[in-house]
Amino acid sequence: MLRLTDATYIDMVAHALDDLPNEACGLVAALPGTDKIDRIYRCRNAADSSRLYEVEPLDHLKADRDAEGRGLEIVGVYHSHTHTDAYPSPTDVNQAPDPSWHYVLVSLKDPEPVVRSYRIVDGAITEEPVELERR
């Protein structure tokens, strides 16, 4: 389960649209021990590509520090697929950095953006529900 407020959901989709034609990427932060995303961090895509993403390492460091200062921790990553489904690609699986993370995909393939979330453990992909909360 991944819980998103409607504000973080909208921000994530807006980031995906803003960075077209490239893939957008960022990090998601939650209170430790919860699955409720409190904040997202837009990061630069160091790969500068419509097919690949690489979270700019300095943006990751800044996000990590900011999250820690707020009592949060980075618990996952989101990125967009500009022309394919919201499903992890083989590259996403091979490079998944942390089995405890949430892997959020924003697909812009269809006119309506699609947001899905996954766990990736030892190369196995499991989808998890995404629940939106108003606040």
């Binding site: 097919r51 690949l52 993403y53 979270v55 390492p57 300095l58 460091l61 990125h79 992890p88 490079q95």
Partner: protein
């Protein structure tokens, strides 16, 4: 004289370091600090360095605010007031 610095570990590596988020290590370069980390926490073997002995491509290493790949990599010098941070390289397609 040995220099002891704080090394901050990402969640994915903490399991190999007794669950600690932050550890102390001795060394005057990133390479020496990595050697000390591997001495203290043998389970980190294969996580910090690639087979060719360079910084593992799946991690990023920072001296304070600087990515050491843009400094002197493993030869980057470290002072007592520096904080070394290790984060996973986050990438995909």
């Amino acid at each position: 004289m040995a220099i002891e610095v704080e090394v901050r570990l990402p969640t994915v590596l903490r399991q190999h370091a007794g669950g600690q988020a932050s550890v102390q290590a001795n060394g005057e370069t990133i390479g020496a600090i990595f050697e000390d980390l591997l001495r203290q926490f043998p389970l980190l073997k294969g996580q910090l360095l690639d087979d060719d002995g360079s910084i593992h491509k799946f991690i990023n290493v920072y001296r304070n605010d600087d990515d050491v790949r843009y400094l002197e990599k493993l030869d980057t010098t470290v002072g007592a007031d520096d904080v070394i941070s290790i984060l996973p390289a986050v990438a995909g397609g």
